[in-house]
Symmetry: C2
Subunit: 336 residues, 2 copies
């Protein structure tokens, strides 16, 4: 394989329901060597995230839909291999939006040079220090606004976003309840992350009752990653003037037919609840503040990160599909 040979994963058909391998295709391409102002980057890690499912829809709401028979994209961290721009040198580490490919050529000014706090932990920039971590921080502080002593409920609580929400809320003096889909995840949150109570939604029976039991003082802030039954239970448990930071509703992402929502939305009125949908890309101005708090927390061992690292671009589709069956534990990344 020459220096300029690259492998890309293309979307070749739009999934109906759960995506399948046939919706994707690995394509080999020959890149053009970088011209003035451009660099050649070799990706080291890429992120797979639930929001990518939305971009596979023709009527994507979040952002532009992925084109058919084109390479997909998303967050990645790579190393500059060859540079034709004075701002970057070979060996520099760059954050980029060019996931789903092992190498690419881009204008240097579309990349974000990274001074990693630890070169052996680059994958953290896909998770705790990356988009999912910033999502946790923005959602919790800008929209959840928890006060010390309040109760915070987090769905998908061991996930890339949820685990940070849980731990940041604990650091801010809240009582934290998480919901997860396996006992191993529950144990990690309880024993390693200091979460106060964890519900395994797959085995707890009636989720509304389980949450009521876990939150005897009610829920003040709900960090919404799941939707459906989780939203229903949260509304039931919430205290007056509760806040919901609506980050995602993964329960519905692969529905081919939309599923009905909770039957207790009237509680939004009666309890004077505020709900804010948000997208992290609107809140880049909080990134410096976020990193200035998060890096010391990681260095001091106050924030734990779990990752599931899948090896090889050729396994990236499997990694992505695993997000929806809960096979990942913590942040799912692909090592390229």
């Amino acid at each position: 394989m020459s220096t300029y040979s690259a492998r890309q994963i293309h979307l070749v058909s739009r999934p109906a329901g759960m995506p399948e391998h046939d919706n994707f295709k690995m394509v080999e391409v020959e890149l053009t060597p970088p011209e003035t102002g451009e660099v050649l980057v070799k990706n080291l890690y890429m992120s797979v995230d639930p929001y990518m499912r939305g971009r596979m829809r023709a009527d994507a709401v979040y952002a532009q839909a992925y084109g058919l028979n084109e390479v997909m994209y998303g967050g990645a961290v790579g190393e500059v291999v060859e540079s034709a721009d004075s701002s970057l040198q070979a060996g520099d580490i760059v954050l980029n939006g060019a996931a789903w490919q092992d190498k690419f050529v881009a204008k240097a000014n579309t990349l974000s040079k990274l001074e990693p706090f630890d070169r052996d932990q680059l994958s953290l920039y896909m998770g705790t220090l990356g988009m999912p971590g910033l999502t946790s921080y923005v959602g919790l502080f800008k929209f959840g606004e928890p006060k010390e002593g309040e109760t915070v409920f987090v769905s998908a609580a061991s996930g890339a976003v949820g685990a940070n929400v849980c731990q940041i809320a604990k650091l801010k003096g809240c009582r934290v309840i998480g919901s997860v889909g396996s006992d191993a995840k529950a144990q990690w949150l309880l024993n390693e992350c200091g979460v106060d109570a964890v519900i395994n939604y797959k085995t707890c029976g009636d989720l509304t009752k389980a949450l009521a039991d876990a939150a005897p003082d009610g829920v003040d802030v709900y960090f919404e990653n799941v939707g459906g039954d989780h939203l229903q239970a949260a509304l039931e448990a919430m205290n007056p003037y509760g806040r919901i930071a609506a980050c995602g509703m993964i329960a519905s992402y692969n529905n081919s037919e939309p599923a009905p929502g909770p039957n207790n939305l009237m509680l939004i009125v009666g309890k004077k609840i505020r709900i804010n949908g948000f997208i992290v890309s609107d809140h880049g101005e909080m990134r410096d503040e976020f990193l200035s708090e998060m890096i010391p927390w990681i260095q001091q061992g106050k924030i734990k990160s779990r990752e599931t690292v899948v090896d090889g671009l050729e396994n990236a589709v499997d990694a992505f599909l695993g997000l929806f069956s809960g096979e990942n534990f913590g942040k799912m990344v692909v090592k390229i």
Copy 2:
């Protein structure tokens, strides 16, 4: 009937689904003449409002549930007949929370003395100048936050709250779309109130399509009085960063079994929508500002009020039930 004889309407059983006459009973009582600090009030008008249905539930969310075999309560305007307190004299007009009875004795300091802008329009203090009017004002400005030129969608648009929302939003330079349940209501909003487009949800077919057609530039603010299909349609039509002021969801108030919610709640995330449930009683601090704007608007003919006046306390239950079948046109009041 003596000066101290009063008639009261009691709740004698809790309705399952739509309330029936058997749930209520007219009771005659003999009042104790006012002692020092008290007054005897004869009510002139009382309000019937959808929120009262919530108070008939044992598990009322809004406020304390009505007691069984006790007089119900709610907003009313009355005249002092006899006073044993220096702050009020016979003939004074007082706002009170003692609806569902024609006379009552109360401490003077629990009543709010009114200097009516027009003694022949006292019933307006139950509607446009009362709780429903203030609800419109608070919901629109504090939570909807419409900007000039934006599109505001209002459900139950000819109702006591909705009609004011529509007209205030027009005065503030918005494009206004209302939804109502009869052509007569639609014509009134279009011809008398200057609303830009009105949908008759009973005859329009697919409400989501009707709203999309009526709002070619999308909806920026949704004033939610209905829930269910209306919320679904509004979410579909809303622009990014849209705001929903959630005032009520009358579609569900008489359900004996809760109905599922909209199937497109994920749009809250994708469109970064904010929803605020609210209760007007939390926002009394806006009342002076509200009246200082609203009274001139009424005097200048800029805000029109429709009322359905039902005569006689003995017909108050019918008036209340009429709220749910849409029989009222504008604010439903009972003349006592």
